[in-house]
Amino acid sequence: MAGMRKTSLRLPFHWTAGYSVLLGLVVVLILAFTSVIKLELVVNGLFLGTIIGLGAIGLSLVYGIHGFAHIAHGDFMTLGAYTSLFTLGVFLPRIGLDNVGLGPFTFGYPLFIALPLSMLFLVALAIGLDKGIYSRLRRRGVSSVVMAMTSLGVAIALRGLVQFVWGGGTEQYPRVSKDFYQLPMGVRIPPDNLFIVALTVIMVVALYLFLTRTRTGKAMRATSDNAELARVTGINTEHVLWWTWAISAALAATAGVLLAVFQAQLFPIMGWRFLIPLFAAVILGGIGNPWGALIGALIIGVSSEVSTQWLNPAYKTVISFAIMIVMLLLRPRGIFGVRD
């Protein structure tokens, strides 16, 4: 991908870029408070953005370390959501755990069992796919385009699997309706969204600590910087590649489950439809930079939600796509990308 500068797992972001994002946020808030745009849409966009962020961080890590665009990432999310559907709807009720409506939330504590199981399943799947498919291609030294096309095949296969097992219709986690929080200026927040944000914050902080404090995390950043040098230094880059799969698959599973909670439904193309916002967020933040991807995701989330004030919600993805194209034309290295 000529012209697309890989920006590595840089931690402190570029300050001028940071300020421009801050400025953008201030402008959006002013517009919201002067009722040009609905504040509720901005808030909703931020919630959606955190979910996009969990997916985009993983996508960005895979891009930075494996060096290819992982097109099956959206379907990882779908599969994560559906494995939780199995746990919540079939497995746990069978052993008598069918509680819903924990506190202010629509779901019950079984979600705290289902989510880790989904994460584990996706981690195992990702590492299995690597051992069975990607590592073989790596050894043959195929190009990143071949890797990406292979992941497209994996994406279609996974979606087919979901449709085969659960059918093509929409599903729901066991839930009860709950009252929204009513905030000033017509902002209504489903309590579930607070859970979504809290979980995202916990996972992002955990990832930050992992990448900056642990031996394996530092080795991941080193490999993202320069894989050949990492090998020469004695880093077991094969393990680093597995860790990268494990982390991004766990994040994708979480994003999928949270998306199913957020939109209160599941359908087999829910993750696939998320792919454009995911890639838009990754490109916005600078390819290979997970923190940039998170900020990019918030921007994508807010702009696509706010667009529904004037556009048919069916065009949400178009907004992400437009932002992605403009970004590639004007600043392909992303908001936070700096030239080395």
Binding site: A219, N226, G234
Partner: protein
């Protein structure tokens, strides 16, 4: 028994053969320099010794053990480290993290070693929390060598450590190499500054077109009129 013995190495990239049967020997505690014109296969030889390229023929022995085509991770564990010519630091990692990565294969406590390495490179400790990408060219070379020292290696393979440096920095890099060698580390050096490098070497090899041309003591090569005329620029 020699420390490193590469025998009749035939290697290259894909179909292109670059080395046509090169042999080289390094004894314990020696500095050995390889000189030769561009494209003579010096860097390819280092890469093949370190296992980054699999030789089509020939063998590499280190400490009496056949290590031909062993992966780099194993080489580092055995005490053989390689410093590539360029892109040899992790730019987004801090200097301290770069050194920690140098110790990646170590499972023991290496805090003592990291202090020793900082003592050897006092410039680095002042900037230990800065990103390596912010270092100057000379400091990057120092960091690259420092990182390789983290495993307490028996031998270093250095590919043009003075490449692209200002003349005064070249001298200090070479001075550091002497210091490392005096601490008991054997060094196989590929150098453009052939004259200076041969001065500090016990032995030198001249490589041309992927073949051994000449080998001798460092001083004898320096004083050989043919060598001076052909390879040392008169």
């Amino acid at each position: 028994m020699s420390l490193l013995e590469a025998r009749d190495i035939v290697a290259g990239y894909g179909e292109t053969e670059i080395l046509h049967g090169v042999s080289i020997t390094v004894e314990k505690n020696q500095i050995v320099t390889i000189i030769g014109p561009n494209g003579s296969g010096k860097s390819t030889l280092l890469k093949t010794i370190f296992g980054l390229l699999r030789p089509k023929q020939g063998s590499v022995r280190f400490n009496g053990e056949d290590i031909t085509g062993t992966p780099p991770e194993t080489m580092v564990r055995k005490g053989l480290c390689y410093v590539p010519q360029s892109s040899n630091v992790f730019p987004s990692l801090s200097i301290h993290e770069n050194l920690e990565m140098g110790a990646f294969v170590r499972k023991d406590d290496y805090s003592q070693r990291i202090r020793e390495v900082y003592d050897l490179f006092p410039d680095l400790i002042k900037r230990k929390n800065d990103r390596a990408g912010t270092l100057s060219g000379g400091q990057r070379q120092m960091l690259a060598v420092a990182r390789a020292l983290m495993v307490d290696p028996v031998m270093l393979l250095l590919d043009e450590p003075s490449a692209g440096l200002a003349p005064n920095l070249v001298a200090s890099v070479l001075q550091i190499i002497i210091g490392i060698n005096q601490a008991g580390v054997a060094i196989l050096l590929v150098e453009q500054n052939a004259r200076e490098a041969l001065k500090l070497s016990s032995r030198g090899y001249i490589l041309a077109s992927g073949q051994n041309q000449l080998e001798d003591d460092g001083n004898k090569l320096l004083n050989n009129p043919d060598v001076a005329r052909l390879y040392l620029g008169g």
